[in-house]
């Protein structure tokens, strides 16, 4: 990490593209692969994770001088678990359908390495404002990858996007795309495309 503080725009952009949590750092892959069989699920998961990430970054940053170093990881996890419980209850109360289709993957946000990673690497060392910007950048980066991945899989796997049918009757859905292997293939291709773009720019 450079001595001089990076400009605030950089902290935001690195999450969205340069150090994208999914494509570059390969963090939080479990929810990325598991729930992206439709764009809608991807979006819901992205937003739930964003909420938890931003709130816990905020909280950890406030408490960064209070939490003793030895027990910091346990402390972060308790903070994260609290926010996840909130998100879980909220979804179950207001968006029951989505909550049902995401199932146990909502509580699993607790162990999303992306969130814990940002607390450890950033929020515990930076001011509240900078931590928030960093968290929002990462959240945006995470969400767009989920929505695109879910969108690609939904288009090929079910012939629709956000539950709106795109093709006529002639379209035969590629079952494999909404099944587990499709998730791996699509993400593999997306990572390759991401790297290719970066190589061209360099």
């Amino acid at each position: 990490m450079a001595k001089k503080a990076n400009p605030i725009g950089y902290e935001f952009n690195k999450g969205v593209w340069g150090e994208n949590p999914v494509l570059a750092a390969l963090l939080g892959l479990c929810p990325v692969l598991a729930v992206t069989n439709t764009a809608e699920n991807g979006l819901a998961m992205g937003l739930a994770t964003s909420f938890v990430l931003i709130s816990s970054s905020f909280m950890v940053s406030i408490l960064r001088k209070v939490i003793p170093k030895q027990v910091r990881i346990a402390g972060y996890i308790v903070i994260i678990a609290t926010f996840v419980t909130m998100a879980d209850r909220f979804l179950a109360a207001y968006f029951f359908e989505i909550s049902k289709s995401l199932g146990p993957y909502i509580p699993l946000i607790v162990v999303n390495c992306l969130i814990l990673g940002r607390q450890e690497a950033f929020a515990s060392k930076n001011s509240i404002f900078r931590s928030l910007v960093d968290a929002i950048g990462m959240a945006v980066g995470f969400t767009w990858v989920l929505v695109i991945l879910g969108g690609i899989r939904e288009i090929f796997g079910s012939g629709s996007l956000f539950n709106i049918a795109l093709f006529g009757d002639w379209f035969e859905p590629w079952m494999v795309m909404i099944l587990p292997p499709g998730a791996f293939f699509t993400l593999g291709l997306m990572i390759a495309a991401y790297k290719l773009t970066n190589m061209k720019g360099a």
């Binding site: 390969l26 892959l29 692969l33 509580p107 390495c113 292997p181």
Partner: protein, 192 residues
């Protein structure tokens, strides 16, 4: 008989890594060498079996009787974190080389979704105590299997010529996709 079915279902038919996408981080991170894949698998299996027992007890003896289900996630993750700490100390004492080769991924078992996922799935499906234990062992075996298979393939891949953008993570995902595809062949072996 039912216990065996639960075991096989968790290990092969609904493999944790390849069909539930739990524990992808170590799956991608530690699957470069077969040796470390095996020891990682062992460590995870061990933690899984204990977690399955402890979380079952907590859920049925503390959270349900006292109506504290809101605290479920917090309680589970704390239990898992302390268990992992215990395993880490144990491994460091018993085998230093193993400890070094697992490196950062040992503490990261805490944030291995497979462990928490196991606890949540076991409760969601209302397994009995014995079934939960068998489920934990099966999931651990399945995780180890997937990890070792992947490590074997990646050792070969080192020698292969891979298009530049696919190097590293890209090709790993594609290979994992192929593995998942072949594991789908087991679907229907056991219903549910």
């Amino acid at each position: 008989m039912e216990l065996i079915l639960v075991f096989i279902s968790a290990a092969i038919v609904n493999n944790f890594v390849l069909s539930y996408f739990l524990g992808i981080c170590p799956f991608v991170g530690v699957s470069k060498k077969i040796d470390s894949a095996i020891s990682m698998g062992m460590a995870v299996t061990f933690v899984m079996a204990i977690t399955a027992i402890v979380t079952w007890l907590i859920h049925h003896l503390i959270l349900v009787p006292y109506d504290l289900l809101v605290l479920e996630y917090v309680a589970f993750i704390l239990v898992i974190a302390s268990l992992v700490q215990l395993v880490e100390m144990f491994v460091r004492k018993v085998s230093k080389p193993l400890y070094d080769s697992l490196g950062i991924f040992l503490p990261l078992i805490t944030t291995n979704c497979a462990i928490l996922g196991l606890a949540l799935f076991a409760i969601l499906r209302e397994y009995s105590f014995a079934k939960t234990l068998s489920f934990g062992l099966g999931a651990g075996a399945g995780f180890t299997l997937a990890l070792v298979l992947m490590a074997g393939i990646r050792e070969e891949l080192e020698l292969a010529e891979i298009p530049k953008p696919f190097e590293g993570a890209g090709i790993t995902m594609i290979v994992a996709g192929c593995l998942a595809l072949s594991f789908m062949g087991f679907a229907g072996l056991i219903s549910a």
